[in-house]
């Protein structure tokens, strides 16, 4: 499920009319650069155990998008992908980095682990 999500998000790196263009990377971005997105898994969100076996597991991860203030905001583009992939999500925070004129969008999502 996670790999499909990464592939779908990476399609946002191809410029298209009327939506934000965001090059996406899996994992942490090492360098401080503007205009990119990362997607990563952080931890187990919730799990259901029965009969000594794990029956259900939700993996929790996060998506961070750093984008210039003047660029098209990425909320519709990212959330359309999350919905299409059947991933539950929350727009966790929107933080303004005024010194660098960047906006940091953060989503926390959960997807099926098993």
């Amino acid at each position: 499920m996670f790999n499909e999500l990464v592939t779908a998000l990476q399609a946002l790196g191809t410029p298209a009319e009327g939506r934000a263009t965001i090059p996406f990377y899996a994992g942490e971005m090492n360098n401080a650069e503007p205009n990119y997105g990362t997607v990563r898994l952080d931890a187990e969100g919730d799990a259901l155990w029965a009969n000594g076996e794990q029956q259900e597991q939700a993996l929790q991860g996060s998506i961070d998008v750093f984008i210039n203030e003047k660029d098209i905001q990425p909320i519709p583009a990212v959330q359309a992908i999350l919905r299409a992939q059947g991933v539950s999500y929350k727009l966790y925070s929107i933080q303004h980095e005024t010194a660098r004129k960047l906006i940091h969008y953060e989503w926390v999502f959960e997807l099926e682990g098993l």
């Binding site: 942490e28 401080a32 919730d46 925070s93 933080q95 940091h104």
Partner: protein, 164 residues
Amino acid sequence: MRYQFEFNDTLTQFFDGLEGGVNGVASAALYKGAGVVADAISGAISGIQTEPYRRVNEGDPKRKPSPEEKAVLGQGHFGIAKFRKGGAEVTTSIGMGNSGYGSLGRSGKSVPVPVIARSIDSGTSFMQKQPFLRKALNTAGKEALAVIEAEIDSRFQSIIDRHK
């Protein structure tokens, strides 16, 4: 994070007036549950990775929080709010929302503690992300709920036993 327990009216009337009533039991249970969450947050703070402070220009590798920034979080600047009792509700909040300012030493300037906590938890364009709060609350929330339920059960049971 918000949990709600409801008691039916007959039960509430029965326990009201005894040992501080339902609110007394709820406060005691909530206090134990809040302790579980507070402990988990302390543990998560001590697990934050640090590196000496350095300036990050565009294109440089992102930095980790400095030891001073971590120390500000760890110096007991977070806590459990005073319990509010209103009607049949007892509420509290745990976190760094009202934890004041911490001095970072290197320049002597004060930075609001929630801003530091937030920048480590979410990451910024210049700082690596370490979601210590979110991860701690994922697991501690469920543990706290179990502790609260067990405490409510045992207190009610002891009241019942005494009035048999």
